[in-house]
């Protein structure tokens, strides 16, 4: 029984964690048998070797099951007006067949979540997010002629990322897919139905996300692995993806910021400016959630600054305190990894203002273990404004085969 069927029969509560439509394949490939829970679904941490899985993202192609991602279909005469009040950016600029990254705030201008808006067809949108949003969306719908359907369980989806991904998609029949520009959406006939392909992803590389009816999910998986074999296709789990997303510069709810609607203490949430996402705030719109508070913040100044750090040495600065030169704590690291492709020790940090200006002398207090013995290093950190990983192939259109 699928999640959707169980919900229809009101029997979903009998099982807390479900398998995605790809589970017959993902479980067969998961030689490590490592899983964790992602909302309603079980999802693989790693399949065979997280470093090799990461290597596939950067050197071949890798498949990640994103079915558990929260998805809502938003339509109706007021869909655009509704979204424009909901999110900080101007949704009118996301044309049909395009995708936009966005954030949304509460009235206090604090970020509730980030996600992507897919303009599927004229006036029909899909909102994808990390956290569940139905309650917030329903609250937002008062006064709008809009239909909101959570379709998380009605769409099977894969992230398909890496330099050879385009070649594989062409091989399974997505003719012309190389012409999709970043954030474009394309539709291709597949297995008697339709495959939606968007040139989007969470890895900062050439890559796509694939969206299909659950009954055709296994056909899609099999086609990818069949045609992808000579292109080095691998499944990847969340560990490999985590390294890629940090390298690519993407932040994540619950990791780099605490969703405002779940924050109890007022200093736990962050504004868009405090997450270095000011570019996503369009004050040209007369009304959106958080606008007044954000205008006020513009005037008065922010409390925090979100920075990318280049950390000296090779020990990831996970959860490290960040100090100024006088050994005052000025913030904490939210995400940190050794970046294999950038070949740098990188971190994101949330620092109290005014810290985090380029050139500030900052130090991370890093603890690490060797054979159960703890060591500590104080590593010098350099604020970096350039992305750590930004290959031209991410943008080049038509996409190359490699």
């Amino acid at each position: 029984m699928s999640t959707r069927e169980a919900m229809g029969r009101k029997e979903h509560f009998r099982k807390a964690v479900w398998e995605t439509p790809f589970h017959p394949r993902t479980s067969a490939l998961n030689t490590l048998n490592e899983w964790h829970r992602w909302k309603d679904y079980t999802t693989a941490d790693a399949y065979f070797d997280e470093q090799l899985e990461y290597a596939a993202i950067r050197n071949a192609c890798a498949v990640f099951d994103i079915t558990p991602m929260t998805k809502h279909l938003i339509s109706g005469p007021d869909a655009l007006a509704f979204l424009n009040r909901l999110v900080t950016r101007d949704v009118a600029k996301i044309k049909p067949g395009r995708v936009g990254y966005t954030i949304w705030c509460d009235d206090n201008g604090q970020v509730i979540d980030d996600g992507t808006i897919f303009h599927l067809r004229e006036g029909v949108y899909r909102l994808c997010s990390q956290e569940r949003q139905l309650d917030w969306l329903m609250r937002n719908s008062f006064g709008f002629d809009v239909t909101i359907v959570e379709d998380t369980h009605d769409v099977a989806a894969l992230a398909f990322q890496g330099p050879t991904s385009c070649a594989v998609l062409k091989a399974i029949g997505c003719t012309g897919v190389q012409n999709l520009k970043p954030f474009d959406i394309g539709y291709y006939p597949f297995a008697g139905g339709e495959l939606m392909v968007s040139r989007t992803g969470f890895t900062g590389d050439l890559g796509y996300e694939l969206w299909i009816d659950p009954p055709r999910a296994l056909d899609l998986w099999d086609a990818l692995f069949d045609k992808g074999r000579i292109h080095g296709i691998r499944p990847m789990g969340t560990h490999a993806l985590e390294v890629a997303r940090i390298e690519a510069g993407f932040i994540q709810a619950q990791v780099d910021f605490h969703p405002a609607d779940q924050a109890i203490m007022t200093d736990r949430s962050r504004s868009p400016f405090e997450l270095d996402l000011g570019r996503l705030v369009d004050f040209g719109k007369p009304c959106f959630n958080g606008r007044r508070a954000l205008l006020e913040e513009k005037k008065k100044g922010s409390r925090y600054r979100f920075v990318k750090l280049d950390v000296e040495g090779n020990k990831p600065a996970r959860s490290a305190y960040v100090y100024d030169k006088d050994k005052n704590v000025v913030g904490t690291v939210t995400s940190a990894e050794w970046a294999p492709s950038a070949k740098r020790n990188i971190a994101y940090a949330s620092l109290h203002m005014p810290w985090g200006r380029p050139g500030d002398e900052l130090w991370a207090e890093i603890y690490y273990q060797r054979e159960l013995k703890w060591y500590k290093v104080m590593a010098r950190c350099h604020v970096t404004e350039q992305p750590f990983w930004d290959p031209a192939r991410k943008r080049t259109t038509p996409a190359a085969d490699f």
Partner: protein
């Protein structure tokens, strides 16, 4: 003057008119737009049967702010009192009525203990109500605002409570949030007296005597008298006289008042108001729009929820404003005769609430969406002291009937007929033959009040008076200082502090808030 300097006030209720008068006196160009044919809003006198006129909604004045009456010279604009400081007659079906005024029993039988307890109760409640009275003309402090005025406002409230003295402060803090049933049970014996006193705590509210917040509602009702008013009074010509006098004051100060001009929507330019559009399509530009309408009407119907941020919309949607009281108007061919009630007392305030259980049972039905099988009443026969209201020898009876919930199950002609019949049965029980004296009748259910007076939910106070909707939380936290989140938009009605009852204070405070905003700009 430019369009930006113009101030439009939506609704010529008494608060809208008071607001207009104060702003016009301060030299502003003010245009008041009223949907109805006459001014006054819920303070209105109108003919409901040929030759019979009655206060259409509110029928007693007990909260009119004395300072506002003086400053706006309402007396010189025609406000005169037909009766000031009515006595209360707690009607007993057996004829053993109790007549009291200001805590003093004037006739009827009470134990010595009850007489003393009644006097103590009145004095103490009046003392507590004075705390509220002091707040009437203050703009409430902004919670967490941190500004100097906010801190001063909060400190002043705290000090007022502290200055009650230790014992009274403790008692105030103990009872302010609880229910009138428990308070009266503690101190009184007479069921009739308790029933009558409890009615004052639930009139017009979605509360029974055992509901918490009923003490708060009572203190609000008493706060007018605590501020120096005479207590329940009847203006000459009915409550409409207050609306007319306020309109006179506003006009004299230079405000323009247009009746029969319903506003369709509040228009915006970016994130600021730019004026209003009338139902007829006419547009009036204004830099400031002040709405005397209730919060839901103003923010959702006239402005549109989409022009507000979601958290704020959510809070306003949960502002409770379910009307619970019906209004009964009877045209009578003669003065009714109440069992064993001296004829000179028929013109006082007559209460039918024989005991608190009766009242609670009346509320029980309403809680579940039905009108009360045995309703409770506050009755006045204003034509006794004001002959202009009825043809010679004839009379009008005006009564608040509890309870009639704003609920589709208790709406429509059937429900209206049914409640009217029950109301007449109860009245006839107390004044045998009254039913046969009725030549015309009108019963306004909350839905009728919503329609006629354009108040969402038909709630007199535009919303429940309860701790969570009071002072700095009225109508909702973050918007209790009259200014709404949209630039240039203000509320000035009973949905704001200090709330309902014909006071004028919300209107004057809103005017002050507008002027303060101008100064700060």
């Amino acid at each position: 003057m430019t369009d930006r300097d113009r101030i439009v006030i939506v609704g010529a209720g008494h608060n809208g008119l008071a607001c207009a008068a104060y702003l016009a006196r301060a030299g502003r160009e003010v245009v008041v737009l009223e949907a109805a044919a006459q001014v006054g809003g819920a303070a209105v006198t109108r003919e409901f049967a040929k030759g019979f006129r009655v206060s259409g909604c509110a029928h007693l004045s007990y909260l009119l702010d004395a300072g506002i009456a003086r400053e706006l010279k309402l007396a010189s604009h025609g406000l005169k009192w037909a009766r000031e400081g009515l006595k209360t007659v707690a009607l007993s079906p057996s004829g053993d009525h109790l007549v009291y005024k200001d805590g003093r029993l004037e006739s009827g039988t009470l134990s010595e203990a009850d007489r003393k307890a009644l006097a103590d109760y009145h004095a103490r409640m009046l003392k507590f109500a004075r705390i509220f009275a002091k707040q009437h003309n203050r703009v409430p402090p902004r919670l967490g605002g941190g500004g100097r005025a906010d801190l001063r406002g909060a400190a002043a409230l705290g000090l007022d409570i502290r200055m009650l003295g230790r014992e009274d402060m403790r008692e105030f803090l103990r009872i302010a949030g609880i229910n009138i049933y428990d308070v009266l049970e503690e101190i009184l014996e007479s069921p009739l007296l308790k029933g009558s006193l409890a009615l004052d705590a639930v009139l017009g509210a979605n509360l029974g005597p055992r509901s918490n917040n009923s003490v708060l509602a009572l203190l609000h009702r008493l706060s007018g008298q605590a501020a120096g008013n005479a207590g329940p009074s009847i203006p000459e010509g009915g409550m409409g006289a207050i609306g007319e006098a306020m309109a006179g004051a506003a006009r004299a100060a230079g405000a323009t008042i247009r009746t029969g001009s319903p506003v369709r929507r509040i228009t915006l330019d970016g994130d600021r108001v730019s004026g209003i559009e009338l139902e007829g399509g006419e547009k009036i530009a204004a830099g400031t729009v002040i709405s005397n309408a209730d919060p839901a009407t103003t923010l959702f119907r006239l402005l549109g929820a989409r022009n507000l941020e979601t958290g704020f919309v959510h809070r306003v949607r949960h502002f409770r404003h379910k009307g619970m009281a019906a209004k009964l108007h009877l045209a009578l061919e003669a003065l009714p005769s109440f069992t064993r009630l001296a004829s000179e007392l028929v013109g006082e305030r007559l209460v039918i609430s024989p005991d608190m259980t009766y009242l609670e049972h009346a509320f029980d039905a309403a809680k579940y969406g039905a009108t009360s099988p045995d309703p409770a009443f506050e009755v006045t026969i204003p034509s006794i002291s004001d002959k202009s209201l009825a043809p010679p020898g004839k009379h009008v009876l005006s009564a608040v009937v509890l309870y009639a919930p704003f609920d589709e199950r208790a709406n429509g002609d059937g429900a209206r007929r049914e409640l009217l019949d029950r109301a007449l049965s109860v009245l006839d029980r107390h004044a045998p033959g009254l039913r046969r004296q009725v030549v015309a009748s009108e019963l306004l259910l909350p839905a009728d009040i919503e329609r006629e007076f354009r108040i969402t939910g038909g709630h007199w106070h535009h919303g429940e008076l309860a701790l969570d909707q009071f002072m700095m939380m009225r109508p909702v936290p973050g918007a209790a200082q009259y200014a709404m989140p949209v630039g240039g938009l203000f509320l000035c009605g009973a949905g704001c502090h200090p709330g309902g009852g014909v006071m004028g204070s919300a209107g004057r405070n809103a005017a002050n808030a507008v002027l303060a905003t101008e100064r700060a700009a």
